[in-house]
């Protein structure tokens, strides 16, 4: 994956910098896998009932929307950009979806439109970034507030999805393994959607020309342009993908909770960024993988789970812990980058 083609930095000709998935490159990802395993072991030892079908099932069910968001964010961050708008886009998308579903529209119309609302915001961010040279975080910050404002115009109180709405069927549990009592391995259609998204993203990034262009842009945008890669189109696409996946995450989330609010998704962009960074994707772009982001999202999901199980950690401290973990991993990236520069 990390050949000279995908990471055409000016100094990439030097052999030290193109070790195929060198240990240093993968260090953050290895660290995050280790942390996830440690969390499992610690959780089992301290609170018990972690290595159980239902706990694992719930971890995936509860993390599915975050994993979908993190996958979209991975694309954007790989190009060296950022998408701060995803949390707010979820609010607009899910409100749109719930209003339409409650108005009696069939679910085959509601779900695509809900997703397309996300695509629309992604498209706007992409156009601002690519065609008007607005910095990614400013463009998406503007979209974040635009979406939040629009959501607040739509409703300022929680809107409930009708109980008999077929929208909810996306979160109907499907038993895979019937364990004793409630200890079953279950998946929901949402989890299946999440898995499909992850698989598709892995394939797109690893096996397609588009995926290689994404890595190339993150490595060195100018060089990618000089090589004749379609930089503008690709950059537009990554924001479109991120927005679309935010719309999809809204569908998944709404079907599970059945409630849409204008404050849904506040701070989720940070969770998604944290998941991507923990998973080992470089914030400067050009290096990282989707599966790492999945691990990152699971680390965050696991952290929430452990904090809930523990009960002594005040919920106020959760954001500090997430921030702390994010900071540690950003620092780790910095160390990796400095080491590489020394080597080069």
């Amino acid at each position: 994956m990390s050949t000279t083609l995908t990471r055409p930095r000016p100094t990439a000709a030097q052999p030290a910098r193109r070790g195929r998935g060198s240990l240093l490159d993968a260090l953050p990802t290895i660290a995050s896998v280790a942390i996830l395993l440690l969390m499992f072991v610690y959780g089992e030892a301290a609170y018990g009932k972690i290595f159980q079908y239902n706990t694992i099932s719930n971890l995936f069910i509860n993390s599915s929307y975050l994993i979908i968001l993190a996958v979209g964010m991975t694309f954007v961050i790989l190009t060296g950009g950022i998408d701060l708008s995803v949390g707010s886009v979820i609010a607009v998308s899910s409100l749109t979806g719930v209003f339409m579903a409650n108005a009696g529209l069939p679910v085959v119309i509601v779900i695509p439109v809900t997703i397309l609302v996300g695509s629309l915001f992604g498209l706007m961010s992409g156009v601002l970034v690519q065609y008007f040279n607005v910095q990614p975080f400013i463009a998406t910050l503007a979209m974040m507030f635009l979406a939040r404002g629009i959501a607040s115009i739509m409703a300022t109180t929680p809107v409930r999805l009708d109980d008999d709405s077929s929208f909810r069927s996306l979160s109907e549990p499907i038993k895979l393994i019937d364990g004793p009592k409630t200890n079953d391995l279950v998946v929901t259609p949402s989890v299946i959607i999440m898995i499909l998204v992850v698989v598709a993203a892995v394939l797109v990034l690893k096996r397609t020309r588009f995926g290689r262009t994404v890595y190339a842009i993150g490595g060195a945008e100018n060089s990618a342009g000089l090589m004749g890669l379609p930089v503008a189109r690709t950059k537009l696409w990554v924001y479109l993908i991120s927005g679309t996946l935010a719309g999809l995450a809204a569908v998944v989330y709404t079907s599970r909770t059945g409630i849409a609010q204008n404050v849904t998704g506040v701070g989720w962009e940070l969770d998604a960024i944290a998941a991507v960074v923990i998973g080992g994707t470089m914030l400067t772009g050009g290096y990282g993988f989707v599966l790492g982001s999945v691990v990152g999202a699971l680390v965050i999901g696991m952290m929430t789970l452990l904090i809930t199980r523990d009960g002594t950690v005040p919920p106020e401290a959760t954001t500090i812990i997430t921030g702390g973990i994010l900071l540690v991993f950003v620092l780790l990236q910095r160390v990796v980058l400095l080491r590489k520069k020394k080597k080069a």
Partner: protein
């Protein structure tokens, strides 16, 4: 803007070369909307017994104080190619610590001073953490301050135990609600501080050094400007001013709402800065412009409430203003406005031309890694420069 006649044209050009001229136009337009709704909107009355001025304009001045504080700090941070997304959370932290202290302290001027000191002190600490991470560790400013934005909100919650702490202290309340010579105290403090910062950066070499750092980190390093101390000071100053803004915001209601105080303030500050004509790509900054921007935002806030649009929707309007200003700043749109083709190459951000724009590639986010580019650039970045030129050619 097609110039009607040479004389008027050049004068117009002179006025509109100041980017904040558009901010003033927008401000006047908003006030005009208010006046259409209520013809007596601009009236200022003098209270005959106390000599206090009152009226909507005075309210705008009062409300603009916190925004002014964070906007000034943000201007300097942005000028160094950075960004400070943590200002809103820092406001909440400083408000929380002062309120928490005052809720148990005696109602004296002494405890008001102590609360002020504690709020500003904690804000300064957070700013120094930002500054150290950006200046010496070399992290990207936006991710550093994003972490602080996340953690700061949590710290504010931990300080108050998740409560919206309220307190009573007349001296502290006076900061927000009192008057000096008829003008609100907050505005007077804010104006004095803005003037002080302006004198500090414009009457010394500090401002020029900050601009040099923002225009070209590598070149500024070569002429002997050490980025570390400068970066640390601007982030510390930004947090300190945000801390004061937090005190202003909480003192007016004597309550800190841990999840709402300072919420979205970073947007206000960024908005004020871009409206004021400071490019987000760093470099030249305009404090006057940011003041205009801050006043515009406060007026926008007030107008939205005045037109009875739900205040939860304000972010949408601000976002539209930000997008509009960013579009006006982009070369492509400027090219269109000038009636010329913007050119085949991707439009450059309005950075002043520099011999080695090593970090002006759009992908580099908010300034890439300013702290390291000076020391660790070397042959590699020179290659990028050539690529950049080749693309632009």
């Amino acid at each position: 803007m097609s110039a009607p006649a040479p004389g008027i044209g050049s004068r117009l050009k002179g006025l509109f070369s100041q980017q904040y001229a558009w901010g003033i136009v927008a401000l006047l337009l908003l006030l005009a909307v208010d006046v259409i709704k209520d013809p007596s909107y601009l009236a200022i009355t003098v209270n005959p017994t106390t000599g206090n001025l009152s009226g909507n304009l005075i309210d705008i001045l009062r409300q603009s104080a916190p925004v002014l504080m964070i906007a000034v700090g943000m201007t300097l941070v942005v000028a160094t190619r950075g960004i400070d997304l943590s200002v809103g959370s820092v406001m909440a932290v400083s408000g929380a610590v002062s309120m928490q202290f005052l809720s148990t302290a005696p109602n004296t001027a002494g405890s008001a001073f102590a609360a002020l000191g504690m709020g500003l002190g904690l804000a300064l600490v957070l700013g120094l953490v930002n500054g150290v991470l950006v200046a010496w560790v070399g992290l990207q400013p936006f991710i550093t301050t994003l972490v602080m934005m996340l953690a700061g909100r949590g710290i504010a919650r931990v300080i108050t135990g998740g409560q919206n702490t309220a307190a009573t202290n007349d001296a502290f309340r006076w900061i927000a609600n009192g008057t000096v010579l008829g003008f609100p105290v907050v505005f007077v403090i804010a104006a004095v501080l803005v003037a002080a910062v302006a004198v500090l950066v414009r009457r010394t070499a500090l401002g020029t050094m900050i601009e040099a750092l923002g225009i070209n980190p590598k070149a500024s390093r070569l002429i002997g400007i050490r980025p570390g101390g400068l970066l640390l000071s601007v982030y510390a100053l930004s947090a300190l001013l945000a801390g004061l803004g937090g005190v202003f915001a909480t003192a007016s209601v004597m309550t800190v709402e841990v999840s709402r105080t300072g919420l979205n303030s970073e947007l206000d500050a960024i908005l004020a800065v871009v409206v004021g004509g400071t490019s987000l790509a760093g470099g030249k900054f305009s404090l006057t412009g940011s003041v205009v921007g801050a006043l515009l935002i406060t007026t926008l806030d007030k107008t939205i409430v005045f037109l009875s649009i739900p205040s939860a929707a304000t972010p949408a309007f601000k976002a539209i203003v930000i997008v509009a200003v960013c579009l006006l700043q982009s070369e492509r749109v400027r090219g269109w406005l000038r009636g010329r083709r913007a050119g085949r190459a991707p439009a450059q951000r309005p950075t002043p031309p520099s011999p080695a724009p090593s970090h002006s590639s759009p992908v580099a986010g908010p300034g890439g890694e300013p702290a390291t580019s000076g020391s660790a650039g070397g042959a590699g970045t020179a290659g990028t420069d050539n690529d950049q030129k080749a693309v632009n050619a």
